[in-house]
């Protein structure tokens, strides 16, 4: 099976010490690696305002991870861990590989089209040049 790309975002309480968040990220990374999967990126967005109240909080500490895996059960495990952890108030996993594939396809097509376009406009430029020389 082809490897799949996932986004995992979770929101911690803003009052959790950063060391604890780092520890949580480490345990998650460990769980990911146990399943022969990869953590591509970890980003700490820091404390942000939430768009609505979650567990009576107005702010939250966002952590964003990009994972590459071909074990779907891994996410069951990760989500279970996030649910159990008291510091985490909200999480979201999104599978993104299909959308990225589509994006690449479209980008490639656009590139191809752009590569073709100069050939069409090229004959016009020499023509303009000739007109300029004729005038001069």
């Amino acid at each position: 099976m082809e490897e799949r790309l996932y986004d995992l975002i979770f929101i911690c309480r803003p009052d959790t010490p950063e060391t604890e968040i780092d520890k949580l990220i480490a345990t998650l990374t460990h769980a990911v690696e146990e399943k022969q999967s990869k953590v591509e990126k970890v980003e700490k967005w820091g404390t942000r305002r939430l768009a609505y109240r979650v567990k009576k909080l107005r702010e939250g500490f966002y952590v964003y991870m990009v994972l590459r895996s071909n074990h779907g059960e891994l996410f069951k495990e990760l989500e279970r861990r996030l649910r159990v952890t008291d510091a985490v108030v909200k999480y979201l996993t999104v599978r993104l590989d299909e959308e990225i594939k589509r994006q690449e396809k479209l980008s490639k097509r656009r590139e191809k089209r752009n590569a073709r376009r100069p050939r069409k406009t090229a004959p016009a430029a020499p023509g303009a040049e000739q007109a300029a020389t004729a005038a001069g």
Partner: protein, 117 residues
């Protein structure tokens, strides 16, 4: 009705009205326009509408990122409703992607479902 009374005096404008009433059933709309001199059409839709173009097509976006609420914000009403295509001019394909992105952003509290007063 006014159309009929003025028609014998000014033939050209009435002709004009028949030409622009193209697709619609005869006599349904553009009635009063026939009595006026030719020019910009008067009536309910007097103003010239600015042509809306899909912002994502202009920027050549192939993937709408749900992690950027600043971009999504402009396609959402003040209270958090997703704006329809007819308001924003987004093309069908990008609107489809946009709604998905907005809904994801709502799920992770980047955008409100309904903002409180």
């Amino acid at each position: 009705m006014a159309d009929e009374t003025h028609a014998p005096q000014q033939h050209a404008p009435s002709h004009h009205s028949s030409s622009h009433s193209g697709g619609r059933p005869p006599g349904a709309g553009g009635g009063p326009a026939g009595s006026r001199p030719p020019g910009p059409r008067r009536g309910k839709r007097n103003y010239v509408r600015k042509k809306k173009v899909c912002r994502f097509c202009v920027d050549k976006v192939d993937l709408i990122d749900y992690k950027k609420p600043e971009i999504l914000q402009s396609f959402v009403q003040e209270r958090g409703k997703i704006l329809p295509r007819r308001m924003t001019g987004t093309c069908a394909r990008h609107q489809r992607w946009l709604t998905i992105a907005i809904k994801r952003a709502q799920n992770i509290a980047l955008l409100p479902f309904a903002s409180e007063l």
